[in-house]
Amino acid sequence: MAPWEPKIVSFLCNWCSYGAADLAGVSRMEYPPHIRVVRIPCTGRMSPKFFLAALREGADAVWVSG
C-alpha cells in the first residue's frame, strides 16, 4: 500500500507568502506535491468558513500564511 499522503490546503497572502511560494519555484526548491494553494488578497480575508469548507472537502490540514 502506498504510504499515506496528507492533502493540505493553503491560503496564501498575495503580497507575501504567495510570492514566497513563487520564489521557491524560481529557486528550484522542492517540496511534496500534496498542497493546493488558494490565493487570497490578505490573510485578513480568511474566514472560519474557509477552514471548515476545506476540511469538509477532505483536507487533512489547512495552512494560512501571510
Binding site: R28, R39, E57
Partner: protein, 1411 residues
C-alpha cells in the same frame, strides 16, 4: 510605460545646462532581446559556462547566460561576454576553443565537433598532431598548467564520429575549382568551398590523399584510419580526389583551366628535404628524413641501418628516430647543434623518443659523412657552444675549433628542414617565388599574380603547422568564392586585434588542479609496431580537464542558448550585438550609483582572505536568505556545519582612518548586525550564541532602539563594547579565537565558530569616476557634496542625487532622498509635464452580462519549463472536460507577443467570456494577460491564472505524475472560480489639484515650495504666528553653516510664491472626504473657512522635551541644547569666558518611558562643544554620553572634537550623572568609564541634550484616520519603502512628526512628501481597482466593526438618507484586503474578485469527483 530602462549602460558625459542637458550613454549589449525574453531560463540551463554568482557573494554558481537574481528588473536574461578569448586568438584558424572545450566539459561531443568543424574539417587529425599554440596562450598557465586543448579536441572526435556531423552546404553552383595537393590546405579549401556550394577536384601526386598528414607523420602519432575517416567526411560533400595525378608536363595549370575549372588552388606542400651541404651526402646510406618518412608511411617499411644518425632537432627528426627504432634500427642517435631547450620538437615527443631508446647528442654538428666504397661508414662531427642570440631569439651555435670527433654509423638521415618542390609550377606565367622557394601571394586573399590561381599551405609559407595550412585553405575558399562572384576579394578581411583585452580576472582563490595526464602505450608495447602511442582521454578525465578552463571570455559562444530559446530572444544576431552610444535629451539628472561594500581582504588582521569562516555581513545576508546559497540554512562555509557561536565585528571599513581611509560612520552596520544576529537566532534556535563587538551602538533610526533593546533583553544577543585585538585560527579546527579587552580592561579570549565582519559602505571607483566625468564635487568620504537646505542637489545645477552616493544611509532615508530627488528633478520639468508621455489605446468593452460562461483555457508549456515535468497535453485535454469550458489549447510560450495576439483573436472568434491561463504566476503575468483580455474587448476581471509553473513544475520536477495531477486540480479550481467572476468597473475620480500642508516648519515649507514649483496650488496651515518651526532656534548645521539666513530665504521664497497661500495662526478643525477630494475646515481667530484640496501633507513637527532631571529649571546655568543655540545666535559674550562646560546626552531619550533615540543630539552637542572650544580653546568641555551617534560624515565632527580636547565620558542608564547646583559652580558627578572611579566636574554651564518629543496630534490623526505609534510619532505606510506617505491614500508625511531628524533630512522628506503627492496630483484622475469590497446596506447591522478595522479608512457610516447609519465602503480608498469581509457578522460585505462564493468554488473543486 513611461520609464525607459537602459540597462548595461554607462553615462559618458552630460553637456548643456539645467533643463536642457544632452547625455551620452554608452550601452553595452545584453545579447538577449529583453522584449522577447520570457525569463524561462532555458538558455541558462544549457549554458556550459559556470561562474561564481556575484549576487550570492560568490558562494554559489551561475552561468554566463544569467539573470542577476530572481526578482531582477527587467526580468530578461543577459549574457556576460568580454573580448575574444586568448586561445581563439592564438589559433591560426581561429577555432572557438573555449566553446568546444566547454562542450566537451558538458559531455556534448557532437556539439563540440560542430563548433570545431565550423573551421576545421579534420578534428581527429589536428586533435593528435596540432602543435597547439592555443595552449601557450592559455591563461590557466598563470594558475598552473594550460588546458589540454588539443587532447580535448581529440576526445570529441573519439566520442562522436565526425562523419556523422551534418554539414550545411549551399546549393551546388555551376563552377568547379581545381585544387592541387590533398594536404591540410587543399582539404580545407575543398571543405570550405563545398560548404559554399562550390564543387572541387583535388589532384594528388601521391597514391594516397592527405599530403604531409599522410606521408610526413608516422602512424604511431596519427593512425591512417583517423585521417581516412576525416578525408571521407570531405569527399562526402562531393569533393573528388584524384590520386597519383601530379602536376607535370601532362597536366599544367593551363590544362586545368582548359578542362573547365574556373579557379585553381595550389597547395603542393613542401616535400623536398634540405641538404646538409657537407661532403659525402651522395653516399649510399644517406637518406632525407622526409623521403624516409614518406616510404614508411606509404609502404609500412623502410631500410634502416644498424647505427643510425639523424641530424636535426625538429619533429621530423624525432619522427624519423621513433620510426627507425620501430623498424629495428640497432642504435639511433639524434645529433643537434644546440641544446634540448632550443629544440623545436615538442618536449613530450623528445621524451617519448628517449623512452623508446633513441639517444640525443646536443651541441654537435656534422662536418663530413665518412664513406667507404660509396657507403656510409661514419660521421665526423664537431662540438658546438652557444653564442649570442640570433634572429629567432635562440642562441647561435658556434663550432669549437679542434673539437672534431668521428662516430661510427651506417645510415645518416638529415632532417633539418624541407622546401617546396617547384618543378611543376616554376614556369607558370604570373607565379612568383621567394628566395626561400615559396610562392608569393597576396597576404590577405592568397591570390597569386595570375588571375584565378591561388596558393597556400607549406607551398606558400614554407614548412609550417597543419592548422596554419587549414586556415590558409579556408581563406582561399573565401577568396575563390568572391573571385567567382566577381566581388572584391579583400574587402572586410582584417584580423581581430585585442589590445588590452578585457578578460575574466584570475583571482587568488582559483584552486590549483593539475592537468589530466594523457594515457600512453608502455614503451615496451611500442616495440616493433606503429600502434598509436597516445591512447586518448577517458571521458570522465577529459570532462574534468575541460572544467579547468577559466572561461576567459565568459560566454564561450557555443550558441547552445540559441538552440534552446523557443522565442528567438537569443539568436546568432543578438550574440553579435555591439556596444552602442545613445544620446538623450533630458532636463534633469539624478545620480544614484550606490555603494559597494568595503572589501576587508585588505586587512590582514581580520584573516578574511585567509580563513573561510571569516565572512562579510553581505555574505551573511545571503546565508540567512531563503533564496541564498544554502537556502537559508545557517551553516558556516568551511564545513557546512551549523555554528554554535557567531561574532560580529562592527566598524570594519568605517570610522577607521588609520587603516582604510574611511573615517566616516557607515550608518547602517549596527542595525544590520543586530538584525542578522536576531535572524540567526531565529534560524538556529536559542542555543546559538551571538555576540556583537562594537564601539558605539548606533541605532538612531525609527524603532531601531527598540529593536536593539529587544535583541539584548529578549533575544539574548550579547553586545560587547570592545574593539577586537586579534583573531587566531584555532589549531586542529575551523574555529577562531578572539582576543579582546573587556569593560574592565582585562584581556579575554573567546572561541567562535564563525566571524561576521560588519563591512561599511563606500562609493565604488566607477561612482567616483562618474562624478569626475560630470564635474560633481565629492566630500572627503567620496560622497556627493550636498547642502543641508538642498540635500539632494549636487554641485552641478540640475544634477541631483540620492541613495548611498549621497552618504551612507539606510533604506528609509534612501527612499526619502529618492522621492526628494524626483521632486527636485520634477521642479525643473514641470512645464513639460505630459508632453512626452505615452498612453495605451483602449478597445471598447463587450458586454457579457447575463451570458452563460464560455471559458477558454490556455495551458502554457513555457518551453520545457512546464512541459518538461507536467503532461501539458493531458492537462489541456482534461480542461476540455470541465463545465463551461468551450475552448482549450496549449501554447509554447503564452507570454510571447505572437501568442498574445493569437489569444486575443481566439477570444473574439470563439466568443469566450472567461479566460483561464495555466502557466506561471499571476504575481508577474496577470497584468499581461489582463491586457490581452482588454485587447480582445473583454473585461480584465474575467480572468484567472492557474500557477502550474512556479508552484508546480518547478517545485515537483522529480514527481511528474503528481505534478500533472496537481496541475489538473489547479486548472479545475481556476475554472470553477472564473465561472463566477463578473466584469468589474474601475471607477474614475477627478483629483482636485490643490495641496494642503499642515505645519510651517522647515519640512512643511520645503514640501510647499516643491509642490508650488511643480505647479500646484498649495495652502500652508501653521498654528503659530511664525513660519520656520524649530529651525528658528537652531544655530548652525553640522557643516558649519548659519541656519537663520537660509531659513529666512526659504520663508521669503514661500511667501513670494504666487501659488502658495499661507494660513498663520490657523488650526484644522474638521476634515471630510478622501483622496482627491478633501474638504477641510480651517479656523483662524475663531473664523472658519472651508478649503477643498486633493492631497494633504502632515508636517506637524515635534518639540524639545523640557527636562525634569539634572536640576533643569532650578538654575540659569543649566540649559537645553536649543537654549544654548539661542545664546550662540544672540552671540552671548558670556560664553567666551566659561572655564568649564558639560553636556549630558540622552536626556529623556533611550529611557524606558521614551525608548527611542532622538537622532540629532549627539551631533548637535559635539558641534556646540566645538563652538565653545573655538570661542575659548582652553575651556574644559565634557560630553557625558551613552553611545556617540554621529552617523555618516558627522563622524568627522566627533574626531575633530576629540582632537580639540573635548573630553568624552561614558555613563550607563543605571548610573546616570548626578547634578548639584553649587553657588560658585554646578557640580556634575559621574563615574569615569575608563578608570571606573567617581569623578566630580565643577562647571559653569551644563547643557542638557533633551529629547525630541512629538507634538500632540491625536486630533489630527483622527481626522485623517492615520495611526500614531507608541511614542506618538505618525506611522508611515511602510517603514522602509513608504516613509513619506500614509497607508491612507492622499495623505503624506514629513519632518519631525515622522521621527526626529536634522534639517537636511527634514528638507529631503518635505520634498519627498511633495513628490509622492504629485504622483497623485499629476494623474488628474484616479482609477480605483475592481477588486474592492462593497457593503449591502440591506444586510448591514451597523455594528461598526468594518469601520473600526479598515486600515485605509475606506469603511464609514452613511450619514444621510435612507441608509443612514449603515456602513459603506469607499471604493477609492479600498485596497481590497478583505479584512472587513471576514469580520462582517452580517454577511453584508462582498469582496469583488475574491468573494466567498469564488473561494468556496475553488475549495469545492478540490476533489475531481466534485464536478
Amino acid at each position: 510605460m513611461n520609464i525607459n530602462l537602459i540597462t548595461c549602460a554607462q553615462v559618458e558625459k552630460i553637456e548643456g545646462a539645467r533643463g536642457r542637458f544632452k547625455a551620452t550613454v554608452r550601452k553595452s549589449p545584453r545579447y538577449i532581446d529583453p522584449d522577447k525574453c520570457t525569463s524561462c531560463g532555458d538558455c541558462a540551463e544549457v549554458c556550459p559556462v559556470v561562474l561564481p554568482d556575484a549576487y550570492d557573494q560568490g558562494m554559489s554558481l551561475r552561468k554566463a547566460t544569467y539573470k542577476k537574481y530572481a526578482q531582477a528588473i527587467p526580468g530578461a536574461f543577459a549574457i556576460q561576454k568580454s573580448d575574444v578569448a586568448p586561445c581563439k586568438l592564438a589559433c591560426p584558424a581561429g577555432l572557438n576553443v573555449q566553446g568546444y572545450v566547454q562542450m566537451v566539459g558538458a559531455g556534448k561531443y557532437k556539439e563540440a565537433l560542430e563548433i570545431i568543424m565550423q573551421e576545421l574539417p579534420l578534428p581527429g587529425v589536428l586533435g593528435r598532431i596540432c602543435p597547439h599554440g592555443c595552449e601557450d596562450a592559455c591563461r590557466r598557465c598563470q594558475v598552473d598548467d594550460p588546458i589540454a586543448i588539443r587532447d580535448l579536441k581529440r576526445l570529441a572526435a573519439d566520442e562522436f564520429d565526425p562523419r556523422d556531423i551534418k554539414i550545411d552546404c549551399l546549393p551546388a553552383r555551376r563552377e568547379k575549382v581545381a585544387i592541387v595537393g590533398s594536404g591540410p590546405a587543399g582539404l580545407a579549401a575543398a571543405y570550405h568551398l563545398a560548404r559554399r556550394g562550390i564543387r572541387s577536384t583535388i589532384f594528388e601526386a601521391l597514391p594516397q590523399a592527405g599530403g604531409m598528414l599522410r606521408v610526413g607523420i608516422p602512424d604511431h602519432r596519427l593512425p591512417p584510419e583517423v585521417l581516412d575517416r576525416e578525408i571521407e567526411l570531405i569527399t562526402n560533400l562531393g569533393v573528388t580526389i584524384k590520386t597519383s595525378t601530379p602536376l607535370g608536363p601532362d597536366l599544367g595549370i593551363d590544362d586545368l583551366f582548359a578542362q573547365g575549372f574556373a579557379a585553381v588552388y595550389l597547395a603542393l606542400g613542401a616535400h623536398r628535404g634540405i641538404k646538409l651541404g657537407i661532403p659525402g651526402e651522395k653516399a649510399e646510406g644517406v637518406r632525407q628524413g622526409v623521403d624516409f618518412l614518406r616510404e614508411v608511411n606509404l609502404s609500412g617499411k623502410a631500410a634502416v641501418g644498424r647505427r643510425v644518425a639523424i641530424i636535426g632537432g625538429g619533429n621530423v627528426a624525432i619522427d624519423v628516430a621513433r620510426s627507425a627504432v620501430r623498424l629495428g634500427a640497432g642504435e639511433v642517435q639524434i645529433i643537434y647543434r644546440r641544446t634540448r631547450s632550443e629544440m623545436p620538437a615538442w618536449e613530450e615527443e623528445i621524451a617519448a623518443a628517449e623512452d623508446e631508446g633513441a639517444r640525443l647528442t646536443y651541441l654537435s654538428a656534422p662536418q663530413e659523412i665518412l664513406t667507404q666504397d660509396g657507403r656510409v661508414v661514419g660521421l665526423r662531427c664537431i662540438r658546438m657552444e652557444l653564442g649570442a642570440a640570433d634572429s629567432s631569439g635562440r642562441r647561435r651555435p658556434i663550432p669549437i675549433p679542434g673539437s672534431e670527433y668521428d662516430i661510427e654509423v651506417d645510415q645518416v638521415i638529415p632532417a633539418i628542414g624541407q622546401q617546396p618542390d617547384l618543378s611543376a609550377i616554376e614556369n607558370v606565367d604570373g607565379l612568383e617565388f621567394s628566395r626561400w622557394g615559396t610562392t608569393e601571394v597576396d597576404p590577405l586573399t592568397y591570390a597569386t599574380g595570375r588571375a584565378g590561381v591561388f596558393a597556400g599551405g607549406d607551398l606558400q609559407t614554407g614548412p609550417w603547422v597543419a592548422i596554419g595550412a587549414i586556415a590558409a585553405g579556408r581563406e582561399a575558399a573565401e577568396s575563390i568564392e568572391r573571385y567567382l562572384d566577381g566581388r572584391d576579394m579583400a574587402a572586410g578581411r582584417t584580423a581581430v586585434v585585442n589590445e588590452n583585452p578585457d578578460y575574466r580576472p584570475i583571482t587568488e582563490d582559483i584552486p590549483r588542479q593539475p592537468r589530466a595526464a594523457m594515457p600512453t602505450l608502455s614503451a615496451a608495447a611500442r616495440r616493433g609496431n606503429f600502434d598509436e602511442v597516445e591512447l586518448g582521454y577517458e571521458t570522465e578525465a577529459g570532462r574534468a580537464e575541460a572544467h579547468r578552463c577559466l572561461n576567459c571570455a565568459y560566454c564561450c559562444e557555443c550558441f547552445q542558448c540559441v538552440e534552446a530559446c523557443g522565442v528567438q530572444a537569443v539568436t546568432l544576431e543578438t550574440h553579435a550585438q555591439k556596444p552602442e552610444t545613445v544620446e538623450l535629451e533630458i532636463g534633469s539628472v539624478i545620480l544614484a550609483p550606490g555603494f559597494s561594500p568595503f572589501d576587508p581582504s585588505r586587512f590582514d588582521s581580520y584573516n578574511y582572505a585567509g580563513h573561510p569562516n571569516v565572512i562579510t555581513s553581505m555574505e551573511m545576508e545571503r546565508i540567512l536568505s531563503a533564496s541564498g546559497p544554502t537556502q537559508g540554512h545557517l551553516v558556516r562555509p568551511s564545513d557546512h556545519g551549523e555554528p554554535k557561536k557567531i561574532a560580529w565585528f562592527q566598524c570594519v571599513g568605517s570610522r577607521d582612518l588609520n587603516r582604510c581611509d574611511n573615517a566616516y560612520c557607515s550608518s547602517v552596520c549596527c542595525m544590520y548586525a543586530i538584525k542578522e544576529a536576531v535572524i540567526a537566532k531565529e534560524h538556529a534556535g536559542d542555543a546559538l550564541d551571538c555576540a556583537v563587538f562594537f564601539m558605539d551602538m548606533r541605532t538612531h533610526g525609527k524603532d531601531f532602539e527598540r529593536f536593539y533593546d529587544n535583541a539584548r533583553e529578549k533575544t539574548g544577543v550579547r553586545f560587547i563594547r570592545s574593539r577586537v585585538h586579534t583573531i587566531d585560527p584555532v589549531a586542529g579546527s575551523d574555529d577562531l579565537a578572539v582576543r579582546y579587552l573587556d569593560n574592565d580592561g582585562r584581556m579575554q579570549t573567546e572561541v567562535f565558530d564563525m566571524i561576521v565582519l560588519s563591512v561599511g559602505l563606500e562609493t565604488p571607483p566607477d561612482g567616483i569616476a562618474l562624478a569626475e566625468r560630470l564635474d560633481v564635487a565629492l566630500t572627503p568620504g567620496n560622497f556627493a557634496k550636498t547642502d543641508a537646505f538642498a540635500p539632494v542637489s549636487t554641485s552641478v545645477e540640475g544634477i541631483f542625487t540620492c541613495g548611498a552616493f549621497q552618504g551612507p544611509r539606510d533604506i528609509p532615508q534612501a527612499v526619502v532622498d529618492a522621492s526628494a530627488a524626483a521632486a527636485a528633478a520634477g521642479e525643473i520639468l514641470s512645464n513639460a509635464r505630459n508632453t512626452l508621455t505615452r498612453t495605451e489605446e483602449v478597445v471598447p468593452e463587450t458586454d457579457v452580462a447575463g451570458e452563460r460562461p464560455r471559458i477558454g483555457v490556455f495551458v502554457c508549456n513555457c518551453g520545457i519549463n512546464i512541459a518538461g515535468v507536467v503532461d501539458v497535453p493531458a492537462v489541456r485535454d482534461y480542461a476540455a472536460t470541465l463545465p463551461y469550458v468551450e475552448y482549450v489549447t496549449d501554447n509554447l510560450y503564452s507570454c510571447s507577443q505572437d501568442t498574445q495576439d493569437t489569444m486575443a483573436r481566439i477570444i473574439r472568434e470563439k466568443g469566450l467570456n472567461r479566460v483561464v491561463v495555466a502557466a506561471c504566476t499571476p504575481k508577474t503575468h496577470e497584468p499581461l494577460f489582463q491586457e490581452t483580455l482588454m485587447n480582445a474587448g473583454l473585461n480584465k476581471y474575467l480572468f484567472e491564472m492557474a500557477n502550474i509553473r512556479n508552484q508546480d513544475s518547478w517545485v515537483h520536477k522529480n514527481n511528474p505524475q503528481l505534478a500533472t495531477a496537481k496541475a489538473k486540480d489547479l486548472v479545475r479550481m481556476a475554472v470553477s472560480k472564473v465561472a463566477l467572476t463578473e466584469p468589474l468597473k474601475e471607477a474614475e475620480l477627478a483629483v482636485n489639484p490643490v495641496a494642503m500642508v499642515v505645519g510651517g516648519g522647515v519640512s512643511g515649507l520645503s514640501a510647499a515650495q516643491s509642490l508650488a514649483r511643480q505647479g500646484y496650488e498649495t495652502h500652508v496651515i501653521e498654528k503659530s504666528a511664525h513660519l520656520g518651526g524649530n529651525a528658528r532656534n537652531l544655530y548652525r548645521t553640522p557643516d558649519g553653516e548659519r541656519i537663520a539666513p537660509r531659513l529666512s530665504a526659504l520663508i521669503a521664497d514661500v511667501q513670494q510664491a504666487p501659488n502658495i497661500h499661507l494660513h498663520l495662526e490657523t488650526e484644522l478643525k474638521q476634515v471630510e472626504g478622501f483622496v482627491g477630494n478633501f474638504k477641510s475646515t480651517l479656523v483662524c481667530n475663531g473664523d472658519g473657512t472651508l478649503l477643498e484640496h486633493g492631497v494633504v501633507v502632515l508636517a506637524t513637527g515635534a518639540a524639545p522635551l523640557e527636562p525634569e532631571e539634572y536640576g533643569y529649571g532650578s538654575d540659569p546655568r543649566i540649559v537645553t541644547s536649543l537654549e544654548l543655540d539661542r545664546r550662540f545666535i544672540d552671540d552671548d559674550a558670556g560664553l567666551n569666558h566659561l572655564e568649564t562646560a558639560v553636556f549630558i546626552q540622552c536626556v529623556g531619550s533611550r529611557e524606558p518611558q521614551r525608548p527611542y533615540c532622538s537622532r540629532v543630539c549627539c551631533t548637535h552637542a559635539i558641534d556646540n562643544a566645538l563652538e565653545l572650544k573655538r570661542r575659548r580653546p582652553e575651556m574644559n568641555v565634557y560630553i557625558l554620553y551613552r553611545d556617540i551617534r554621529t552617523y555618516g560624515e558627522r563622524e568627522y565632527l566627533y574626531s575633530k572634537a576629540r582632537e580639540a580636547g573635548v573630553i568624552f565620558i561614558r555613563y550607563s542608564l543605571g548610573n546616570k550623572p548626578q547634578v548639584r547646583a553649587g553657588s560658585r559652580k554646578v557640580v556634575v558627578a559621574v563615574t569615569d568609564h575608563v578608570l571606573g572611579r567617581p569623578l566630580e566636574i565643577e562647571t559653569d554651564l551644563l547643557c542638557l541634550s533633551s529629547a525630541v518629543v512629538p507634538t500632540a496630534v491625536e486630533g489630527l490623526a483622527q481626522m485623517f484616520k492615520v495611526p500614531l505609534n507608541d511614542d506618538g510619532f505618525f506611522v508611515e505606510k511602510h517603514a522602509k519603502l513608504g516613509p513619506s506617505e500614509f497607508a491612507t491614500d492622499g495623505v503624506f508625511l514629513c519632518g519631525l512628526a515622522h521621527y526626529p531628524k536634522p534639517i537636511d533630512e527634514a528638507v529631503a522628506q518635505g520634498r519627498a512628501a511633495a513628490s509622492r503627492a504629485v504622483t497623485l496630483l499629476a494623474r488628474e484622475k484616479i482609477h480605483t481597482s475592481g477588486n474592492v469590497a462593497r457593503s449591502d446596506p440591506f444586510y448591514c447591522s451597523s455594528c461598526g466593526v468594518c469601520v473600526a478595522i479598515c486600515p485605509y479608512a475606506a469603511a464609514t457610516f452613511i450619514k444621510e438618507g435612507p441608509n443612514s447609519g449603515k456602513a459603506e465602503i469607499n471604493p477609492v480608498l479600498c485596497k481590497g484586503c478583505g479584512l472587513c469581509v471576514a469580520s462582517c457578522r452580517s454577511g453584508a460585505i462582498h469582496l469583488r474578485g475574491f468573494d466567498n462564493d469564488q473561494i468556496f468554488a475553488q475549495l469545492f473543486a478540490l476533489n475531481e469527483e466534485a464536478l
